[in-house]
Symmetry: C2
């Protein structure tokens, strides 16, 4: 039995017992990480009504991931229906994460892709504007900043199920006494986190790493913050950020759908400064 609340819904079957096996031993998502996923925030108000935040944007990103892997993605309508079924079975107040998982399906039968939606509880409702401070370390990703240019088979920018290195990097951070990781390139630039985008405030502007040749994932949350910031008259830029410049930034965040903007207060053991006004503004831009 699971100890905290969870919901599992399978395309073609609907909501099932979360402890029930749903994937065969030959599913290519299991045996090769040959599939993609997306995850997004769910919060439930006091009446128990659950809302999936930015579902369309995440379904769009899942489309792009599936397209890059030549996997036939179910329509948005079918995904929305599956998500509605999962949300209808979800009544736990507070914060949760909705994950959409798509695999190429079974190797031994032609049944087509496997599609699942899961909801897992994260914790109680967060106070608005809470800074959520974290510590981080920089770890090399082992490649230069242009490694993914003209090499689509490297699946740059694709949110595949093959996340073992991301998991191992977080384990390495914990071993070093830190919460999270900022990946770096062999030519001296910052990339992103294992499960988050990078956001840097410098000289009145907001910066984030460009997608494309760097291979990083586009971040729906960075996009949302950039949009709100521009509407507020703040300049935003996607540009390569030197590792050394992380330490002199006005503030630094790792941002994700589930956690929102998490302020990095210590990097590689050195305290970072963070303008408190900026921290409040960014939380507002992120609607967290």
């Amino acid at each position: 039995m699971t100890e905290v609340p969870h919901v599992v819904a399978v395309l073609g079957r609907g909501v099932v017992d979360p402890d029930e096996p749903v994937v065969s031993a030959d599913d290519l998502g299991l045996t090769r990480g040959d599939g993609c996923f997306d995850s997004l925030r769910v919060f439930s108000d006091e009446s128990g009504r659950a809302t999936a935040v930015d579902l369309e944007e995440h379904l769009d990103r899942l489309d792009r991931s599936a397209g890059a892997m030549d996997i036939d993605n179910p329509s948005h309508a079918r995904w929305r229906e599956l998500v509605e079924e999962a949300l209808a079975a979800w009544s736990t107040p507070g914060e949760a994460v909705l994950k959409l998982v798509l695999t190429r399906g079974r190797e031994w039968s032609g049944a087509g892709p496997t599609a699942l939606a899961t909801i897992a509880h994260r914790g109680p409702a967060l106070p608005a504007g809470a800074p959520r401070p974290i510590t981080a370390v920089t770890l090399t990703k082992g490649h230069p900043s242009d490694a993914f240019a003209d090499a689509p088979w490297l699946l740059g920018g694709v949110k595949t199920l093959a996340y073992a290195v991301n998991v191992a990097a977080v384990r390495e951070a914990r071993r070093r006494g830190a919460d999270d990781v900022i990946f770096t390139t062999t030519d001296g630039y910052a990339l992103d986190g294992p499960t988050s985008g990078l956001l840097v405030a410098r000289g009145g502007a907001l910066l984030s790493t460009p997608t494309g040749a760097t291979g990083i994932l586009e971040s729906v949350t960075v996009e949302a913050i950039f949009g709100a910031a521009r509407a507020d008259g703040v300049e935003t830029r996607y540009e390569l950020i030197a590792i050394a410049d992380l330490h002199t930034a006005d503030a630094l965040w790792l941002v994700s759908s589930g956690r929102g903007p998490a302020l990095v207060t210590v990097l590689d053991g050195r305290a970072l400064r963070a303008d408190p006004d900026l921290v409040t503004r960014i939380a507002g831009y992120a609607d967290f």
Copy 2:
């Protein structure tokens, strides 16, 4: 229903219907590729007796993969017992592949690692010494040849379930009209194939790419061929092989447990030479 014969055995349960789901939606092997595997050759003689080739060597390699990922691997005795159950249920003559899959287990419960053994039919028994010619293309892996030095979180040399790039690279090869891939580094060296080791004959010696800083997997089959070659008085060396030198080799193979030594006859559209005596000798060394 599956169309060709398969066997699935689950640790703690034994042999199950191969069409039956065996993995939960929160299994970290599925959701993050957070697990490892090994695969090896099975062949069955005319009486139907199935043999798993080099099982101990593959269990040793699985131990090393699990150790690098901090996953608690069942003992060799438990794996051997599971494999025996799977082999006992296997009676299809010819060549098959046995896969051992180990995941970190379920995220939502503390049930521990998931361990599976599967057997899948490959085809009829192969004639001894058959050259199995293939065509290949070189594709960049996007990193330099020393990318994995001092970076254990990149999981170099670890046979993780996160194989999506390997699968995508083979798809790219097929798009280019070739069978397989030789990965290359940004500094101009050959690595290995997506599911095979590289073997090069040059000047009377046999060469293969070193493990370690290159991040490539150790190949049980390259090891076996090297051992037999040395016993036959042939020099063997692990050293970096320049991409340009692939085209001037005396012969070139991609070798794996399942397929044995596959002779590369065309690379990037250019025919390669291959000394026929060498080809026969290598097939003998590989016991294929």
